[in-house]
């Protein structure tokens, strides 16, 4: 009896927003307002809309096997922080920020585990470098798994912050201002970190050049 009464009272004070599906799909603000008023099923609408967006972001930042887990964390964290969403910018950008921070947190946790420190470069990757530098077409070689393995191995030598910034600015071509907005850092910090990270990456790659070239 009492729970029913409370639910009735709650709905009287904060009535769930009636969403008009016939017109068109409801906008994000309306969906969020509805979730905040207790209709958690509306969160599925946001997941439908932004699952691909989030999966693209995490795919670009964490190993493929970890992407579903990081995307899961992103949506859970988004739900927890939904009350803090001010609606001054698009929800998509706000969610992207959370996704990037989840990826950054993933790497921070990853590097804290000593077992995850990068080991020696696999022979396949070394062969791939030799192959690339002898007049093979980079387009063909770029398809190869070894290239991605080599990149992951080299990125594994950087710190979590360097890795996140380099992935955003260099690999995904975000501007310093965009990366700064996503990470809530200053533009100067992004530029400095990005420059240092790239220099460090090139130094790591220089060490694996064949003897005659290096």
């Amino acid at each position: 009896m009492w729970p029913v009464f409370f639910k009735w009272g709650h709905n009287l004070i904060f009535p769930p927003v009636e969403m008009n599906f016939t017109d068109n799909i409801p906008d994000d603000a309306l969906v969020i307002r509805n979730i905040l008023r207790g209709n958690i099923n509306s969160f599925e609408i946001l997941m439908d809309r932004y699952q691909d967006h989030v999966s693209r972001i995490v795919r670009n930042h964490v190993p493929r096997g970890e992407a579903p887990e990081v995307a899961h964390d992103t949506f859970v964290r988004a739900y927890q922080s939904l009350g803090g969403f001010k609606g001054t910018g698009p929800f998509k950008h706000w969610l992207a920020k959370i996704a990037i921070r989840c990826c950054h947190d993933f790497w921070r946790g990853y590097y804290q585990n000593q077992e995850n420190l990068a080991g020696p470069l696999p022979d396949d990757c070394r062969d791939w470098v030799d192959h690339l530098l002898s007049d093979q077409s980079p387009e063909q070689d770029a398809q190869r798994v070894e290239a991605r393995d080599l990149l992951q191995w080299a990125l594994g030598q950087l710190s979590a912050a360097e890795r996140t910034v380099l992935t955003l600015t260099h690999l995904n071509e975000y501007s310093a201002a965009e990366a700064a907005a996503l990470l809530d850092w200053s533009v100067i910090r992004i530029k400095v970190q990005s420059h240092r990270a790239r220099k460090k990456l090139r130094k790591i790659l220089a060490e694996i050049l064949p003897q005659g070239i290096a």
Binding site: L36, G38, I40, F43, E44, M47, Q51, D52, S55, R56, R59, N60, R64, A67, P68, A71, H72, F75, V76, Y79, Q80, S81, L82, G83, G84, V129, L132, L133, P138, E139, D141, A142, Q143, R144, A147, R148, L150, L151, A154, H170, L171, L201, R202, L205, A206, L209, I213, A214
Partner: protein, 203 residues
Amino acid sequence: MKSSKKHLDKIEEALIAAYRKQEDIQFPPEWREQVMQDISSMAGPTAFPQEKKMWTMIPRRIGALAAVAVVVGWLILANLDWYDPWITLKPDLANLESHAAFWLEAGDQDSGLRHVKVTVIQKEVEIEVLSKNLEPPGGIWGGTGDGTKKVDFPLALDAQALGLQEGQATLVITVRDLSWRNGFKGRITTLKKEMVIYSKKSP
């Protein structure tokens, strides 16, 4: 060196190309249910602490600002006093013998005296006769009302010892108080006295 740079550029270019050719990820079918399950377990009246925090933070901020304003206002009002310090010099002589003695009194009724300075100006040359620092140990931050309210002391002017010549001279007495007026320098009162210095002729 150049060839090494060229090779590094080539590797970097190939790695970026490989990175950008990643295929989309297919999430496991149960992924969505797991997210919704986790969210459902968190749902409830305390699910959105941030929203609650926003409302509670506004009065807190206003309270903090009001407290700071009260403290700053109290400090300013307590240290901006309303009366200038005063000076009296006795006797009121217009002509000064080469040796003369005065009695100087100075005071401030609010914050108290900070500094007394006596100089003589003759032919655009300023000669310091006396400089007395009366600041309490903490200076202007030492608290209000701790300063010296009044000083009186004899002031002896020996024209010969001070290097003064016969003729026109101006005696300048400057007193500053401990208030925060004039950019923390305090209220200033200056007494200027035009005098003629002469040497007593022997009969």
